[in-house]
């Protein structure tokens, strides 16, 4: 028991400081991916709802690809693919250099694209859930397009989309574990190293699982607070 406590201390013998650093990487990757994924997902959703067939097709191709590929494969495609394409482009320009893509950036792009593909579906169904009478009513009282969006549609839209987005956030949090495979020192990678060095695999992977659970728990506390906040302004239905 004493040995276990030493392993979990913050000192040079312990692994807690390494694991805490990994936790920071996991959380910051998820937080950095979120706005990127939301923005792209919103754009894709607008594309899907557009009256223009070519725009709909382009948006649908995006979702088909990023919802159909395994996340791990997407990550590899981005990580190695970007590396190779940049090298080829540089070679065309007459420069030969070994390029290393930042694993954090690759993770952000890959996970963000997958997040966007799923988020666009949530946005589309949220937009569809708002009856056209809401727009017509807003125009009838003389609001401009922008005002209608900001004052009438958005408050309802956020309320409808939030549960789906909360779900996607929890999925994103779990999927950040994949970046440990391309060498980013997140929770899972740090605990893997600790497990390999100390031969206490069950202990350290158990801790990794617990940390993810704690993150999920904290997120659901925050998310339900946000949900309460946005539904407070809503009409009782």
């Amino acid at each position: 028991m004493d040995g276990v406590l030493t392993l979990l201390s913050f000192g040079p013998q312990g692994w807690s400081d390494e694991i805490a650093a990994g936790l920071l990487v996991t959380v910051s990757l998820a937080l950095a991916t979120l706005p990127f994924g939301l923005a792209v997902g919103y754009g894709v959703a607008l594309g899907k709802l557009s009256g223009e067939p070519s725009l709909r097709l382009a948006a649908n191709i995006f979702t088909t690809i990023f919802r159909g590929l395994p996340e791990l494969l997407t990550l590899f495609l981005v990580f190695y693919g970007a590396q190779i394409s940049i090298q080829r482009l540089l070679a065309l320009a007459g420069v030969s250099a070994g390029i290393e893509i930042n694993a954090f950036a690759a993770g952000m792009v890959a996970l963000g694209a997958v997040f966007a593909a799923y988020a666009s579906e949530v946005f589309v169904s949220a937009f569809r859930a708002i009856p056209p009478g809401q727009y017509e009513g807003a125009y009838a009282v003389g609001l401009s397009r922008w005002q209608t969006m900001r004052l009438v549609i958005m408050p309802q839209f956020i309320r409808i989309a939030l549960p789906g987005l909360s779900n996607l956030w929890l999925i994103l949090l779990k999927e950040t574990a994949l970046v440990s495979v391309i060498g980013l020192s997140d929770v899972l990678r740090q605990t893997s190293i600790a497990a390999r060095v100390t031969k206490e695999a069950f202990l350290f992977f158990g801790i990794a699982c617990l940390l993810y659970l704690v993150l999920a728990l904290l997120s659901s506390v925050v998310l339900s607070a946000i949900e309460r906040r946005v539904s407070r302004a809503g009409a009782m239905r």
Binding site: Y80, L178, F202, L203
Partner: protein, 277 residues
């Protein structure tokens, strides 16, 4: 008045073609389609350029065997998970506090942690208990990466499937149970003849989605040295440093997922044809 005037005229003339204008939306759409087209062309050119019959002959059988391993792993763990999910779903609805808490904790754990971490926990973590497993004669099971993956995936999907099942049964209104009880059906008969036929219809799409998610998630077994499709791809890439290995894998995964998605759609449309008007 003007309408009757209009009809006589349109009978003679074909309806006027709407003017096709270049709206900003159309410009954007065509540009984005162009980007997709160029990307597809780039990938195609890359594949043609780096086409290597030697490589294809060498690795095509390995990809096929990898695909077979993937399908086996996903199919088996989906079935095992489906069987396991039934007691868990019942436990979630149990009035016994301990049973309900246990099944809640089970579902929360497996849905709240990454599948990769769970797989590591089983494959590397349970290895710490080798003497105990050897004592009960189970070591042969937890020694093999394949069985460990099967074990972890079955537990994982059972948690998700339990929630699907529970959610679907919950959508059936309580009056159905009462009506069946009034007709003198036992609880089991009610479940089998009244509740499940309606609930499974609701659950079909979530089940299909779960199967697709499991298939996509199964790529991570490559990390614990199971040579599934992803494992074969990684091996081929490590040997050849040829990026087309990953592109082939992407094509295969995409087509399997699309086939599954279309099949779920078809089955659902067929089974719910009495609900459409």
């Amino acid at each position: 008045m003007s309408q009757s005037h209009g009809t006589t005229e349109t009978r003679a003339l074909p309806p006027a073609q709407p003017v096709r204008r270049w709206t900003p939306a159309k410009l954007l759409g065509v540009t984005l389609l162009g980007v997709w087209f160029l990307l597809a062309l780039g990938v195609l050119l890359f594949l043609v350029n780096s086409w290597n019959p030697e490589l294809f002959r060498r690795y095509a059988p390995e990809y096929l065997s990898g695909l077979w391993i993937t399908l086996q792993l996903v199919g088996l763990s989906f079935l095992v998970g489906g069987v396991l999910s039934i007691p868990i779903a019942i436990g979630r609805r149990s009035t016994n506090r301990i049973v309900a808490a246990f099944s809640y904790g089970y579902v929360y754990f497996f849905r709240g942690t990454p599948l990769l971490a769970q797989t590591f926990l089983v494959y590397y973590g349970l290895g710490s208990f080798r003497p105990q497993f050897e004592a009960v004669g189970l070591w042969w099971f937890f020694r093999e990466a394949w069985y460990c993956a099967l074990f972890a995936f079955s537990l994982n999907t059972s948690a998700y499937q339990a929630e699907i099942l529970r959610g679907a049964v919950d959508t059936i209104r309580y009056g159905q149970w009462e009506a069946a009880a009034a007709l003198g059906l036992s609880r089991l008969q009610t479940l089998r003849k009244i509740i499940l036929p309606q609930a499974l219809l609701v659950a079909l799409r979530p089940y299909g989605n779960e199967l697709i998610l499991l298939l996509k998630g199964s790529a991570i077994v490559a990390i614990i040295t199971v040579y599934d499709l992803m494992g074969e791809t990684r091996r081929a890439y490590a040997r050849t440093f040829d990026f087309q290995t990953y592109i082939w894998a992407a094509f295969i995964y995409l087509s399997v997922v699309e086939v599954l998605r279309i099949a779920t759609d078809r089955i659902e449309r067929r089974l719910t044809r009495h609900l459409h008007r």
